[in-house]
Structure formats: C-alpha cells, structure tokens
C-alpha cells in the first residue's frame, strides 16, 4: 500500500477511513454501474443524481476499478446509430 498512498497525512487517513455518510453496497453498485456510466457519458451531474453510488465508488477500490474500466471501454466503442 505504501507505494501508492498520498503523502499528505490527512488525505492518507481520509482514504483509510473512507467516505462519511451513507453509501450503497457492492451488490447495489453493480446493479447501477451501467446506468451511472451512461449518465456520466451524457455529461449528467452523477454526484448529485446518484450520491450514494458516488460515495461507494469513493470508498470501494474494487468497484471503482470496475466502474473506471466500464466507462473507458464504452468510450472506445463506436456510437450506435440513433
């Protein structure tokens, strides 16, 4: 872990103790990943529209990795015809 921890000690602790407030669980996060990603691609304010999802992505590195990859993959694909 030490190799990728931010040097600022407060940020280190913030990361260790995770986001304050309510958040989704991993299972709910999986169910909503596709909707969340498409809203992001549409430029929607997802942090406002789906705050519990955003909080979970801030606190769960595995779900964040999954989300980042889905977002990146969809971005590489050609748009479907309207």
């Amino acid at each position: 872990m030490s190799g990728n921890m931010p040097a600022d000690p407060r940020r280190t602790v913030e990361r260790l103790v995770g986001p304050a407030g309510p958040e989704l669980g991993c299972d709910e996060c999986f169910e909503l990943q596709d909707t969340y990603v498409e809203l992001e691609l549409a430029g929607a304010p997802v942090a406002d529209q789906m705050p519990l999802m955003s909080a979970h992505l801030a606190g769960c590195s595995a779900c964040r990795d999954d989300h980042d990859s889905l977002l990146a993959f969809v971005r590489t694909q050609p748009a479907e015809p309207a």
């Binding site: 602790v13 995770g18 769960c60 990859s69």
Partner: protein, 219 residues
C-alpha cells in the same frame, strides 16, 4: 422502445447495427439460428470487454503470462455470457443492453485476474505497514501530524472487533482485493464491504471524539 436515461448523448457499444435494447433481449430469448447468432455476437462483445479489462490491469500483475491472460479473458467472457442469459429478465432498459452486458464481463475479468494473481499468496492481516505511512510525510510538521493521526487510528483499529480489524487491515492497509478476501473468508464481496464500512464508521467516530480533524469531519 423508450430511450434509456442518458442514452441520447452517451457513446454506445456497438452490437449489431441498429440493435436496440429489447431487440437484444428478444433475439437472445428466441430459439434457433437467430438466437445462435445473437449469442455469438454477444460473446464476441464480452470477449472484447474482458480483454480490454485485462490489458488495463495486467501491468499490476507482471507474473502472469500471455497464455494465462488469454485464458482468463475467455473464461470471463464465457462466465459473463452465462450470467447474462440467466439474468436476461433483470434487464430493464435503463441503459443500453450492451453497456449492461459489458459490466458482467469487466467485473468477471477483474475478479478473475485478482484471484489468479493472489493464488497461493498469504493474506496480510497484520498492520506492519503503519510505520511507513508516517515516514512518507514530506515535512517534519506533516510527519508529526501523520504520526499523531496514525497512532490514534492504530489504537482505534485495536478496538475494532476481530473480524472488522482483519478486514480493515487487509483491505485498507494492505490493499488486498475485496473479492480475494471474500473468497478466502468464504463469504461475499458485499458482506466484506459491509464489515469494512462498519469498521470505518467506528474509526471516524473515534477520531472525531478525540478531537482529531475538524468537528464532524470524519463522522
């Protein structure tokens, strides 16, 4: 067919040109040659998604060879396809079908990669990394602040339940992937994250009670 939220401006994932979400469901739900074609198209898409995920993550797992990675991608696509066909009725059209489907492949590939990379490795449940965190602080002031914060955190981690402490130390301190830990503990990723969430809530409350950080900062 109602356009799903956000679909208008979102870049989609190409399946058969012009295929709208419920067309995918219809084609995958029918029988005969039409279904076989749809399954093959979907598998091809899932394989591309799985390979994409493995290419993104492989730098973190240099010990894995190309044949291992190809095999993991193929297994991920196969397993994702099975999950999708089993859960076809769960698709509500709130996103494009292809986006919904690709998340299965990406999650499968990521989990398989992490589990493969951790196969045979011991899960670190000790807190041996604590001293190095403070040592990384760039200035004497920050070093002292880091020392106080981390010392408090370390003490509070010692007050967690045994399970909460193991989960916190493994995931938050030692970067053990949550699905790897879940497998070793014979439970689910969701259950492990719930334990981590409870542990973190206790720790935030304890730090706030000690007056570390602004009022309510870590509540």
């Amino acid at each position: 067919m109602t356009e799903p939220p956000g679909a208008g401006a979102a870049a989609g994932v190409a399946g058969r040109p012009g295929t709208v979400p419920q067309e995918w469901v219809s084609r995958l739900s029918c029988t005969g040659a039409e279904r076989d074609v749809a399954v093959a198209e979907l598998h091809d898409l899932l394989l591309r998604a799985a390979r994409f995920e493995i290419r993104r993550r492989r730098v973190a797992f240099p010990q894995l060879g190309g044949a291992d990675l190809d095999d993991l991608a193929a297994q991920s696509a196969d397993d994702a396809l099975m999950s999708i066909l089993r859960r076809l009725g769960d698709f509500r059209g709130e996103s494009k079908f292809t986006t919904w489907a690709c998340k299965f492949a990406i999650v499968e590939a990521g989990a398989k990669l992490r589990k493969h990379a951790w196969r045979g490795r011991e899960i670190p449940l000790t807190s041996a990394v604590w001293p190095t965190l403070a040592d990384e602080a760039p200035s004497p002031h920050q070093h002292a602040e880091a020392h106080d914060l981390l010392q408090a955190l370390r003490e509070e981690v010692g007050r967690l339940t045994a399970l909460q402490r193991q989960v916190f130390v493994a995931i938050a301190l030692n970067d053990v992937p949550i699905d790897v830990l879940a497998e070793r503990m014979s439970t689910t990723r969701g259950a492990i994250y719930k334990t981590l969430h409870d542990a973190r809530r206790k720790l935030r409350a304890a730090l706030a009670a000690r007056g570390l950080g602004a009022a309510g900062e870590w509540r």
